[in-house]
Amino acid sequence: MTRLPAPFGTRIDRTRPVSFRFEGRRVQGYAGDTIASALMADGQMMLSRSFKYHRPRGAFGLAGAEANTLVQVGAEPNVQADLREVAEGMEVTAQNVAGSLAFDRDAAIGLFARFLPVGFYYRTFMGPTRQAWLRFWEPRIRAKAGLGRVDTGARFPHGDKAHLHCDVLVVGGGPAGLAAASEAARGGADVILCDAGPEPGGSLCHAPQGAASAPEGVRLMTRTACTGWFADNWLSLVQGGTLWRVRARQVIFAVGGIEQPAVFRNNDLPGIISAGAVRRLIRLHGVAPGRRAVVLAGTPEGLDAAEDLAAAGIAIAALVVPRPLPGHEGRIAALGCPVIAGRIEEASGRARVARVRVAGSWVDCDCVAVSVGQAPAWQLPCQAGAVLGHDTASERFVLRLDRPGLHLAGTVNGYAGHAAVVADGRRAGAAALRALGMSAAAEPAPKDIDAALSFWHQPLDPHPGGKDFVDLDEDLQVADLINAVAEGYRELELVKRFTTVGMGPSQGRHSALATARIVAEATAREVAEVGVATARPPAMPEALGTLAGHGHTPERRTALHARHLRLGAEMKPVGAWWRPYLYGRGDREALIAAEVAAVRTGVGLLDVSTLGKLEVRGADAGEFLDRIYTMSHGTQPVGRVRYCLMLNEMGAVVDDGVALRLAPDRFYVTATTGAVARVYADMAMWNAQWGLRVDVANLTGAFAGLNVTGPGARDVLARLPGDIDFSRDAFPYLSGREGVVAGVPVRAMRIGFTGELSYELHCPASHAPALWDAVMAAGEVRPYGLEASRILRLEKGHILIGQDTDALSSPDELGMGWALSSKKPFHVGKRSVEMRRRLGVTRRLAAIAFPAGTRGLGESCLVLADGVPAGHVTSVAQSPTLGHPIALAFVPAALAAPGTGIAIRARDGSTVTGTVTGHAFLDPKNTRQEG
């Protein structure tokens, strides 16, 4: 155990031990430990194997920004061991190892590293045959790919989603964020402060300046990572399994910096840790990272780490100071340890660093704290429009953000000294207040003497022996990047894609800046000109389950749903609606045939509540429908029903329905179930341009509809009490009435979708069950379902929009020229219909009858002309009434005449033949529906 005594370990609760398993071995930590800190306290420095060469790897930055701390926790892959807190009984395993973490057979790949240069897979794995890649090479590569493992049987809880609004969102609870939030809250703003850690304070938590607490009046959200910025200050915050969608008027990014790795040979050995991580381990978790440390102090932060190491009683074998640190000489002397001017040239060790070579000599050690400086955490600000530049003079990367409503504060804004960071936070808070129109004094940009030393421009020349890793996610060495440039991949994005640098789980947080410098040098360009890859969301990994939330699928049920269930209906979804497909259990074909027969010989009842229902009101209602639909509605008498055919501007049929004129200025219009939303929107769109005096209301959900159909329909309705005269003379075909039936207010229309005598009764949805019950009780009425309805209309030759039409079908192709009013000067699509007619109609929808017993027909079967596909079947059914199959199909115009034989390729590949009939298979003279 390498646990340090109190006061070290401010974040752990030694009274609450937590035990979990790592690689099958029991490990004990404390509440407040992360998986990584608990393992490192246990002496387990190696946490993973690298992606490509399976080299031993440990934590570097302990800030959730690296691939090497990813572990499997139960069924959850790629868990950040440096962020995830330990929980009792957790099952943690290493990822991407063959065998175990300690003995990984795939580590042998590392021996062949020199045979596997960057981009080698583009030049290899190709032969000897064309199929070799797919059949031989790729399966082997896939077997080695990936890190964690998904458990395809795993069940995870649903994520939650919620919204927040605030004046100011401060991202990051370090000294700058705290100062900014405090300033903004004091000025009267409603402030949210979020931080990914378990407590606010950021670097204050382990700094001599002392711990921190949330400013008064601020809504503090800990363990909350801001994962993305989107347009109009819409941000995603992930807190556990909850996705908070935040709308902020002002956003302050106080997101700090990312400690950069030092690049030298074997810089990836476990035990080589960033200065900040060393300090957090000691101060927050009470973990001694080793017994004998070497400290690389490229910046004063290295000295901070050295001081913490010394305070914890850890021997410092060498303080490596690669450049003078003016003003810090006293601190260096006070450490009293060997000081070497120079840099770390190389490290060695097996599963953990054992020594480093500095200025030509080897120094034994078991841990190395490195400090080369921090890069501004550019991901989130860059998503919001910040630009990452490079200041040639100071050799620092600098971020600029000049967008309304957005501010940078503290380290991310280029400040390093504590006082300056805090002052910049206050400045940003005040700037946000002023942007909100609240009063705050303008504070000047703080002075920062520490900034000059905050980044060490380390040399990035390749080591002859390699293993000087720039990207630890992807096992890329300095030479790999130089070689990619030499191959001609000279642009940063090309280098990235050719080498995969920055494409791993850490998304370039540790590699992008070094890459930019290497590529700049190799192409003789400025670093700023090379730049870094575009920062894309998310700024931290987001679980799919959190993003998905509960994922609910909306469903709609008609007012008669319970009636259908009681009658034993088989319900099927049609879009969002649930509709009865057929009633009863047993031989489905026989049941459907019986439903069809009931309509043909008795009375059938269909729930048509899902139909779109619109009310068009206003002085120009007739004129409006004249423009929207193809038939004439301006001249339509009150009390009459007229067919409605809607075209788009291309002259293609997009919807149909009927319109009942209720009054000179009122129409009740139906639309198909699937299209009503679009029809309603289109009507609004057209009238926005036409400016007619009309208003359209969508009554689809408010009204239910029943179709009472069959030769006995009139008798059934006549038996019901009410004030509508359903007699032949009083209620002729294509007329409509408002009145009361069985105590229910209805709009009744005589139309003929089934080809039989039919009354459609529409009523307020809440009355529908009563009306249904009354109709059912009034005679031998059989409810029928969707499938019978489809057969009934097919027997009558009626088309279903969307099934018998496609995106181009014109009325002429569908044989619906009769529905086009020739008198009207305009309706939508008229101009195109005329033009298409002049160009010639090349295909037509034909009704085709097949001999009884014809097999293998199906929807979408191809129509053949001289053996070549020339159309297809859109609807087909065995007609129970006629006793043979019938179909609608697109056929070449030349083959559309009644009597023409049509060859169809059946499902089994054979050819079957049918004959074109007139459009209705049944009752072409309409005596049944109009009688």
Binding site: F230, A681, A684, M685, R831, S832, M835
Partner: protein
């Protein structure tokens, strides 16, 4: 999520709106077939400010918006017939 200001209902999340496409120039009555086809299929698609139709779905309000198609900045919105 982007905000779009409905002239009737004020700023709302853009997922409350339906995009109805760019405002198109009118075509003269009696245009030749070729001109009609060109009018029908041609697209307003220049990078830059564009005037387009939107609909606020819950209130069924159709209005016009001027939006920059490179930056996605909404410059102004107004009801048809109203002065922008």
């Amino acid at each position: 999520m982007k905000l779009l200001t409905c002239p009737l209902n004020g700023p709302r999340n853009i997922d409350e709106f339906q995009y109805l496409g760019p405002l198109r120039p009118d075509l003269a009555e009696g245009a030749a077939d070729a001109d009609w086809a060109a009018h029908l299929f041609r697209a307003e698609n220049r990078p830059g400010p564009m005037v387009e139709w939107w609909r606020h779905t819950p209130s069924n309000t159709v209005f016009l918006a001027e939006r920059h198609t490179l930056t996605d900045t909404i410059l102004r919105t107004w009801l048809p017939g109203a002065k922008p």
